[in-house]
Amino acid sequence: MTRIVRFLFAGLLTLALVNVVPLSADASEDSSVTRTKKVSRTFEIDGERVTVSENTVKVTVDHTKNLRGRERVQINWSGARPSGGRASSPFGERAMAQEYPVVILQCRGVDDESLPAAERLSQQTCWTSTSQQRFRSSSERLAIWRRDPYAAAAERTQKSGIDPFPTSGCDDAPSFSARAIGFIAASGKVFNSCSSDSMAPEAAVDAALPPAEQAAFTGTDGTGSTSFEVRTATENGSLGCSDQVACSIVVIPIEGVSCSEGDSVCQQSGRFAPGSSNFASEGVDAAVSPVYWWTESNWRNRISIPVSFGTAPNVCDVLDSRAPTAFYGSELISQAALQWAPAYCLNKKRFKFQHNRMSDEAAFTLMEKGEAPAALVSGRREQDLAQPVAFAPTAITSFAVTYVIDRPENAGEYEGLRLTPRLLAKLLTQSYTGSSYGAQHPGMGDNPRSINQDPEFRALNPGLDTIDREAAASLLSLSESSDVITSLTSYIANDAEASAFIAGKADKWGMVVNPSYAKLKLPVAEWPLLDTFVPKYELECQQQIKTPYFTQLAAPVSSLRTIAEAVLDGWPNVQTKCDRASSSDPYRFGRTDRQGVGARFLIGIASLGDAERLGLKTAGLRTSSNTWVVPTEKSMAAAISTSKPSASVPGLFEMTAKGLAKSPAAYPGTMIISTAARTSGVEPATAAKVAQFIKISTSEGQRRGSSNGTLPDGFLPIVNSGATKPLYAAAQKSAVLIAAQKGVPAQSALPGSGDTSTPSMQVITPADPDSQIQAGAKPGVTMVATQPTAANTSRIGRLTLPMLLVLCFTTAAAAPLLRRFARLRAAH
């Protein structure tokens, strides 16, 4: 009897557990933090401290837990003093010429009096990218920090901040007053930071990453918002934030430096009206500018919000010495894999999972050949008849058209970009001419230079400028074969307008397709660069290299992450900047400069996971005549509802552009990423690992969250209910099939393509934009750098015939001579 009860109890417990897991999955963790603080500025009048202005500022950071490198958090605030003299860029030193902004910094340490000093934050652990933000040197009259009533006596001496103050090496005159806020690196090393030479190495001019710290603008209603990028020890070793080292985001609403009695310089209250713009970087009243964020009177107004960082990406290499089991395939899943991998390698009962990015086609072939245990792919693949393969839906995400576009007149970033298939087709077919060089292209000289001049685009996205830009003439896309490109081009091909445009029909404003791409057959898995037009260049540099112009304009890259970071940095990959390192170096085409904040215009294809992580804006794509859909869980779920299971291949779900078009709420870029593995011929141990991965990733791995093992933003969870129910069931079935390894060859698999491979002696190196520019490149042809022909010589080949010849003649001549000689000697 007790046994039966025990069984029942165990069964109930199991059921409860099974139910609890999906339940907790739905409760997504909310890590937003809101802090409120009264900030004030005081003047000393008649020996009394009088508060001249006071504001209650409420700051909200939307998520603060398990942040990853370069992730952006959304910061909103209200109740702050309205800013004036808005600078074009809120980042770094360029933002210094503003009045009453909100300074946002990332600092190492936490604001907690109970902690030891080394773990507390201070001005000296806050990162800035230039010395102008940490060091002031001025005449006595302008050195207002020396008259800050909140500052300690030691901070008010003529030279302060570094003890002893150096006599050389700082941008300072002996007679001036100076204060330096040295930077204490995570290693303990102190950087004086009183000149660009004494800054931490990550703050070098032309550093790899642009400044992240901001002096953001508050509107006239006292509210403001911005996206703030956090850096981990991987990006900024001196700052050194990680899952081990606690850090904070420090928000300082600049209220103005507090002043002692009768100091007119310090008591300035700004010369720009609230809400005004300072596009020309004119001088501002220093006392209310962000330059003095570090003065004690501003610093005491700070609101600090502790943030925590996710496990470092290399944790599996460091903490787990087992050999990894590598899954190859789609980059779309990389943000999920980043969070999933530690949940495997840190758990000794699981195998060590590793995701390696590879083109879907190549990954699938690798898996079929048995060189990889499983492939992560989306979309149908041509299959080898002899290899039965099962698919298990593992993640649902999408590609996203990400963008960064600034509105004119310093009005901030543009939101709600709307695109049509035809606009995407125009960008991809390089039908915008980009500049006067592109306008020389025969057959499309009258086309707009860039998309923001196109009447079709302007009608959908009003209020943008019409300045022509090379970056706005192309869509930053992938150079490799990918299912993302297949999906994108299927969407374009399924639209009547876009197809007609590519076929050669002008749109109603007279724009025609680039003749090089006319009648291009879509969809394709790899976007071809067909335009080889070389314009009449004007500069000597360009004339010497003579390279196809439109190829440099498009300059596709090999990874979606690169595109996402290019959009994040506002740094187009347009390769038209022609220069050379020194007069003795050859000329070369290189990447153009970063776009200045305020004039950014860049559109690129990225994965939704990256876009969410980096806080990028995603464009709405047109689904039916008047509906534009952005990628959200709802629109992806609508797309999943249109998917149909394949009759012949277990676990394969297919979404067609035609099917998607019937559902106006469905996001057309939605993609199902499946784990594909063979169901026969795989070693049992490996097959068990793949089955384990499918089971875990479709249960625990579908809980929303930011911690290890959970599903990040940008993915639609696959659960046993709703639109994803059939996918969940198929994944479980495929896991069983893969674990069993009893598959038989499929009857109706697609025929394998004929082997037309080139012989092994040809080695082809991948094309990157730089290597296309080589001296031997023929004009008009896109050349790819190939390896030099290897020398193959044969000594036997060289010597055989001459040796035979020499031997034949010498022996034939020598024998009679030798005899005669011998005979003559014998006769004597």
Binding site: Q762, V781, M783, T786, T793, S794
Partner: protein
């Protein structure tokens, strides 16, 4: 055919006849005899490689042409898959290599005595992909002796079971030159692989591999069934094949037996009869031994 009689008996006979005039030391006699034999062997090798090999090449081409013509007419010419080694697969003509050549399947040294060889792991000429043909530079008809006379723009045409394909030469490529551009979808290429020498005896000392790349300018054919995935070292440029050593030793042993027979039969049957009996087998065996020995030399020689 005096050479043969010299090898076998003449040398000694002549020595004997002059012994009376002035006796020769035994050591000198052995040394000079050996030198004469070496000279004769080398001479024979040169004769067969450069002259007789040419004759056999011409004959093989003629037979191959007839056979391939028949196959074309009967539409049984091979178009892909695993083709029998030594079967004619294509006829190649260009204005730089003289008349047209029949191309045979396989690029091992012994497979290239009949004419240019088609590398077995490459597509047939005219199909999408790169077709690679090897040819000898100095011996056995030397079909690829003047490979370096190709100029960009020259036309090469091939006829295979799928029809006629036209190629345009892009360049002659030597060590250090960049390899040709990767082929796009449905593009084809023909690569001729030969060898060239340097110095005064350049024609007789082909030592460095050179390539002629030609792009397919006519429409490409349907791809054939998949070819073999890899070839042995012997079938790669300058490849040699030591697998013939057993056969070669048999042929050489046969020659030794014939010498022994000559030594026995001459005192009994007389020189003239021995000569008549043995000349044919000796020639046949030497011919065979030389053909087999070619496997030990590079396939592009």
């Amino acid at each position: 055919m005096t050479t043969i009689s010299n090898t076998l008996a003449g040398g000694r006979a002549r020595t004997k006849s002059k012994v009376q005039a002035a006796p020769l030391q035994t050591e000198v006699a052995v040394l000079t005899d050996a030198m004469v034999v070496v000279s004769i062997v080398c001479g024979w090798l040169l004769l067969q490689l450069l002259v007789l090999g040419g004759l056999s090449y011409d004959r093989a081409q003629s037979i191959g042409y007839d056979q391939f013509r028949g196959e074309l007419a009967a539409a049984t010419a091979p178009v892909g898959g695993a083709i029998e080694v030594g079967a004619p697969v294509a006829i190649m003509s260009s204005n730089r290599l003289g008349d047209s050549q029949v191309v045979f399947e396989g690029t091992a040294p012994t497979q290239m005595l009949a004419g240019p060889g088609h590398r077995r792991d490459t597509v047939l000429p005219g199909q999408p992909g790169t077709a690679v043909l090897f040819g000898r530079a100095s011996t056995y008809g030397a079909p690829f002796a003047s490979l370096d006379s190709f100029l960009p723009g020259d036309k090469i045409t091939t006829v295979t079971g799928q029809g006629k394909a036209t190629f345009k030469v892009t360049d002659v490529r030597r060590a250090g030159d960049p390899q040709p551009q990767p082929l796009g979808q449905g593009e084809g290429r023909l690569t001729l692989v030969g060898a060239e020498g340097t110095g005064t005896l350049a024609g007789l000392s082909p030592s460095t591999v050179q390539y002629v790349d030609a792009e397919l300018v006519s429409k490409s054919f349907e791809p054939g069934a998949s070819r073999v995935s890899a070839v042995s070292v012997a079938e790669q440029p300058m490849g040699r094949d030591v697998g013939v050593l057993p056969l070669l030793s048999l042929a050489l042993a046969g020659l030794a037996v014939l010498v022994a027979i000559a030594a026995v039969s001459r005192p009994r049957l007389g020189t003239a009869r021995t000569w008549v009996i043995l000349v044919a087998p000796v020639m046949a065996l030497s011919w065979m031994a030389t053909d087999l020995g070619m496997a030990l030399l590079p396939n592009l020689l």
